[in-house]
Symmetry: C2
Subunit: 426 residues, 2 copies
Amino acid sequence: MKKVGVAILGLGVVGGGTYKILTEHREEYQNTHKIDIVVENVLEIRKERALALGIEESKISANIAEICSNPEVDIVIEVMGGVEPAKTFVLAALNAGKSVVTSNKELYCKYSHELEKAAIKNHCGLFYEASCVGGVPVIRALLDNLQGNKILSMTGIVNGTTNYILTKMSKEGASYEDVLKEAQKLGYAEADPTSDVEGFDSTYKLSILSSLAFHTKIPYTKIYREGITGITVEDIEFGKQMGYVIKLLAIGKNGDNGIEVRVHPAFIPAEHPLASVNDSFNAVYLTGDSVDDVMLYGRGAGALPTGSAIVGDVIYCATHTNYRYSTFVNTKDAAKDTKFIENFESAYYIRLEASNRTGVLAKITSIFSKCGINVAQMVQEDVNSENVPVIFVTHKTKEHSVNKAVAEIKAIPEIAKVASVIRVVN
Amino acid sequence: MKKVGVAILGLGVVGGGTYKILTEHREEYQNTHKIDIVVENVLEIRKERALALGIEESKISANIAEICSNPEVDIVIEVMGGVEPAKTFVLAALNAGKSVVTSNKELYCKYSHELEKAAIKNHCGLFYEASCVGGVPVIRALLDNLQGNKILSMTGIVNGTTNYILTKMSKEGASYEDVLKEAQKLGYAEADPTSDVEGFDSTYKLSILSSLAFHTKIPYTKIYREGITGITVEDIEFGKQMGYVIKLLAIGKNGDNGIEVRVHPAFIPAEHPLASVNDSFNAVYLTGDSVDDVMLYGRGAGALPTGSAIVGDVIYCATHTNYRYSTFVNTKDAAKDTKFIENFESAYYIRLEASNRTGVLAKITSIFSKCGINVAQMVQEDVNSENVPVIFVTHKTKEHSVNKAVAEIKAIPEIAKVASVIRVVN
């Protein structure tokens, strides 16, 4: 039986889950895959955390050099998160001839080519299925299943925290602030939730997935980004009345005129397959020129689902000795001439508060008309207050046209405010 | 640039789609995968079909020996369907040192071990992603993504024809016979629809998928099978009123007491993710002990979606020279001691027609009670006719208990008939 030694860098939620899966299934992997996976080392300064998991003291290290020089370690699992020291450690492992399995989207998104070069130079494997959408098998689907297609578009719900928050707000009518606080209490959101709620985490994942899908490196800095902090219960409620559900979407399109990549909240029709992806579930909806529509759905985060992706990569790495790079090998560095579309097309939901709707409607619609925007739907709430909500849903139009129209509408004296502008994706 | 020669056996719907994808994307594969895939041969007796696709006459063959002896052919794509002559041809190709990519579920389900042995002996690849659920990447997900899990259960809608028929019946209230005729006219159903509508096709796919998931060969003959020919518009309508949607499900479970495999129509709650898998879309819903729930969704059939899976395998085969068996290598022959559960548990929908419901209800409920069956819901239609429909939905109970109860109910004089017994899967 082939023995495979692994080291785990970081015993946080995912590291602990991975350790649990590997140790509890050890005998099964011996039977089904003829390999004996042994956790040889863990890198963790909180020694008590390692001991609590039942790890022998002799295996606990606070020193990457020790792990790199341990001949019993074949595969290093990096589940620390963040760029440093993870990057230094991963490079050290690769340079020491260890294969690497990582769940680190930020690291992989920002430094994939550097890591890949080190892997190739040292004849090591480099795997990162766990970096995107937890247990959902989307990276290998792009690499090994859908590679015969031109992928035309992908629309994903790729962040568990924000999907949990938006689901709760939609179902319970609770405010963003209240749900965030609750999510933090339950451990679903970080103490500093910026990376999730402002959409950074989603841009890292979209960068990785769209690079694979479109065969050219998509830097995360090229991705339009807008978070969910401005979403209100009012808009969710108005959207619901019009048959929409709100989601934070990661969208990539590869069209004849260029590549379009964006992360922002959007209304989608209640009957869209992504509309019923709730709580911490995630999904990626792909369209290929041959395969048509494919959706991959599952837990986007969590100790065991993400651990499942990591262990899948470990077994793959251990059993595929001569093809160890499941990487960006087919992805060229973003060519200077890759065209990114910034003035993208979308339908829009625009909510205004108007002090005098009779006079003001003509002014608004003439601005829309001047900007070439067609209105698909208008709702006026008949409320007895000074400011009346007026909602427009436009047909597909250009981002820049909407920006221009909104700026002009804001300048109308009878407009108390433009309360919200939310894209509508059909 | 590495040149990869392929031969296509059979230019039916899928063969034609595969040819189209390969030729239209040839330059893309050169750019992205550094391989030049060339269709060197096609095996097709309908020469005009090949010529219509634009294939040079010199490449058309009616003779497998010619293809096997062509040194330019590296990979043979078998898309003929059926056991013979496909089996003879695939074995000939493997024995000639060609790798094989097949979409043939019946062949693979029935002869996987024999084919695999020939592949291993001849150091050839053997790939069959296209055999199950068209363009949905479920086989590689089981082999290369979820292999760290114990797969506890899978529930699939794996046949496009029956899903199309049931969707049409549900949406339009049309009868099974009428929808079948229309489906045949449109080419969605075969002239002899038996394999689809009686569930055979689904058992082949469930055999392949559950063997991979449970790491033991599940012969299709061990799968309980029931088709959709008995499903009526009445039952679909009653089900709808109770919040259910009807689907032909392929179910596999791997529990402590044994393995349970079955194909039958079932009511599922309208809010279940599988309930919105409509028309010719298919999906597989998997639960693993680590990954939790995963759903893979897409087109279950069709020239291009199935062609996408085939071309995915061709590229994989061409670029993974040292790991060419994506096969049952981890699946032992069904051990004699594999325990299959036949008396499985399910909830049931039972529709009766009773001539006199006042007297008869007590008799029915006492039979249920005697058989240990708890009733969850009862609906009596208040109609002005001699026979009144009465519907029971049971709590989870054993298959054998229901069979016994139904036999006894049939013997009650006031029961005109037991119109239908349909399982309910929650």
